[in-house]
């Protein structure tokens, strides 16, 4: 990120051009992002804190919020472990089918989440899926239960950690790792002492993006959850439900909470991230 600011600083353009460009960008972001988000907040507090109070005392909503957090955190943990592993595989090793794997990893970003949901039902569905009936017979229900929702969330947020970590791994190169090996460190020690600290900020950024994405997942989760009130209804589904039932206050308040957490994550990281890093 710092690289970008350095290049913009070096390209000292003519002044009027620079200001026009700034204004355009600021206006664009304002009308597309800032103003709509602000309005969500304003609507959430249209009646003071009543809407917020209402949803926070509604057991169904608090259950939904808790479920969302559990699913998001589980998905992020899975995606982080898997993502760091896959990144190292992609950057440090050569193997047949690497390009195919690389292309597959971008799939979750390009496929609509609702398609993801349907696809998961086809594979894990309790009655007609490929594995579903077998797993269900073994007492493990995937679809219309938490595991399916975690699965859907993992799927849609899959590439985020990888896309953050891969460029960092490429940039640091493997000489530090080789040096560590020649100094007697085994693979685990090298990873823990050298690789992980070096890619730390890539991982953290990936985790935050994944967390924000996971908290906000809607389409895929809606298909696989069954949307059962008080059981498999997540926060995003609550927003939709309340909105459709003309409970504008409740839906905006819940939406505000979701947006707040996501924005907070990103702000915290940009403040913490060392300036000289990268």
């Amino acid at each position: 990120m710092a690289e970008h600011s350095i290049t913009t600083r070096n390209q000292v353009g003519r002044r009027p051009g620079r200001y026009v460009l700034r204004t355009v960008v600021a206006a664009y972001l304002f009308f597309l992002v800032a103003w709509p988000l602000y309005l969500v907040g304003r609507n959430a507090f249209a009646d003071g804190f009543t809407s917020l109070n209402d949803i926070l005392t509604d057991p169904d909503v608090t259950h939904a919020l808790r479920l969302t957090v559990v699913i998001a955190v589980t998905a992020v943990v899975i995606n982080t472990v898997f993502g760091v592993g896959i990144s190292i595989l992609l950057v440090r090793y050569d193997f047949p089918g690497k390009r195919l794997l690389n292309a597959m990893l971008d799939m979750p970003l390009s496929v609509s989440p609702i398609v993801v949901g349907l696809a998961l039902v086809l594979v894990y569905g309790g009655r007609e899926g490929w594995f579903g009936p077998t797993l269900e017979a073994a007492g493990l229900q995937i679809i219309f239960a938490t595991p399916g929702m975690v699965l859907a969330t993992v799927f849609v947020a899959l590439p985020l950690v990888i896309r953050e970590v891969v460029p960092v791994l490429q940039e640091i190169g493997d000489e530090q790792e080789q040096a560590a090996r020649s100094l007697g460190a085994n693979a685990v020690q090298t990873f823990r002492r050298i690789t992980l600290p070096a890619i730390k900020w890539g991982v953290i950024y990936g985790v935050v993006l994944s967390l924000a994405r996971s908290l906000g997942e809607f389409g895929a989760v809606k298909v696989v959850s069954g949307n059962v009130l008080g059981e498999t209804r997540t926060a995003t589904l609550v927003v939709e439900e309340k909105y459709l039932n003309f409970d504008k206050g409740g839906s905006y308040a819940t939406a505000f909470l979701l947006a707040l957490v996501a924005v907070a994550c990103i702000i915290v990281v940009s403040v913490l991230r060392p300036k000289e890093d990268r």
Binding site: Q178, R181, E276
Partner: protein
């Protein structure tokens, strides 16, 4: 013999990096692997370190067959061209790394690291991060880090290649002095013949995956095994079918020794004078003289001179029928 390399071969796809190479590297000496870029010398060093696996052949370090050993079990110190400093660790922690991995007691680590930092003159930088050091300081830190684990052999891959000319010269002298103090078997890779001649006890010339010659700097310079070594180690010019050093040529204005020639150009480069002549046979030859020799000779462009090789000077027969002599500057970078 400290490192025994027997029939080692290595390919990268179609490219043959090493072709059946056998070298013995003596204990306690400073050995240079010298050759042009892409000649296979770095690959050989990395195979010794275990960072690369040989396709065929055997590597023995201090009598132990290391062919299949991973790098962490070989007890070698490796210094990279671009330092490979652990960026998130202080200089002290960088140097301590190998000892921490070996779980040595804390006060022993502290004492040893202090010793090493003194050895590489970085005592006052112990708590800095590598980013706060200059290139030369970083490379000295890398050297201390590699020495900390008391390696059986110290391997340096173009250790001064990324440094500017002045620092490179300083570190070169310093490495030589350090080696005289520490006496660890050291192998370093370089493409700079001057560096190899100046620092090494023993030089292995490697080109196109093969060993061209092994010997002391004197052997290589005075008795080059072939045309390649002759060309690679210093400037050359062709006289008849012989490849000779321009500074071994003697010019005279009288007598009947040597070949008759006419001076075509005189160029002064600092303390030395380059005299280009063309023999009566039409062969361009370059001789270099010192300023005093040139003044004593008293020639100018179009003077008639006689050219001969000083007795006892090295020469090799040109195998490829080259029609032109190679300009010395080209031969140096070879």
């Amino acid at each position: 013999m400290s490192i025994e390399i027997v029939n080692v071969g290595k390919r990268f796809g179609d490219f043959v990096a090493l072709d059946d190479v056998s070298v013995s590297i003596p204990s306690g000496r400073l050995t240079a692997l010298l050759g042009p870029s892409g000649g296979g010398k770095s690959t050989l060093l990395r195979i010794i370190a275990g960072l690369e696996r040989a396709d065929t052949g055997k590597v023995e370090i201090e009598g132990v067959d290391a062919t299949g050993l991973p790098p962490q079990k070989r007890n070698v110190g490796f210094v990279f061209q671009h330092y490979a400093a652990f960026k998130h660790l202080t200089v002290r922690r960088n140097v301590a790394f190998g000892l921490e991995i070996r779980k040595r007691p804390k006060d022993e680590i502290r004492r040893r690291v202090d010793e090493l930092l003194a050895l590489v003159h970085l005592e006052q930088f112990a708590e800095r991060l590598p980013a706060q050091l200059s290139g030369g300081q970083r490379q000295r830190m890398a050297l201390a880090r590699a020495l900390a684990v008391e390696p059986t052999v110290l391997l340096l891959d173009e250790p001064f290649g990324a440094l500017d000319a002045k620092v490179r010269k300083e570190l070169r002298d310093w490495l030589r002095r350090l080696h005289d103090e520490v006496h660890v078997t050291t192998v370093f890779v370089t493409h700079d013949q001057e560096e190899a001649l100046e620092v090494a006890d023993e030089i292995v010339v490697i080109n196109e995956g093969r060993v061209e010659q092994i010997g002391s700097p004197d052997d290589l310079y005075d008795r080059p095994a072939n045309e390649f070594v002759m060309r690679f180690l210093g400037p050359v010019t062709q006289l008849g079918d012989q490849l000779v050093r321009p500074h071994d040529l003697q010019l005279s204005t009288a007598g009947t020794l040597g070949l008759a020639a006419r001076v075509t150009r005189v160029t002064r480069i600092g303390f030395e004078i380059r005299v280009d002549v063309t023999t009566t046979g039409g062969q361009p030859v370059t001789a270099t003289l010192t300023r005093n020799e040139f003044l004593a000779l008293g020639v100018a462009v179009d003077s008639e001179v006689r050219v001969q090789l000083a007795p006892g000077s090295p020469s090799t027969t040109v195998s490829t029928p080259a029609t032109r002599s190679v300009p010395p500057t080209l031969a140096v970078t070879g």
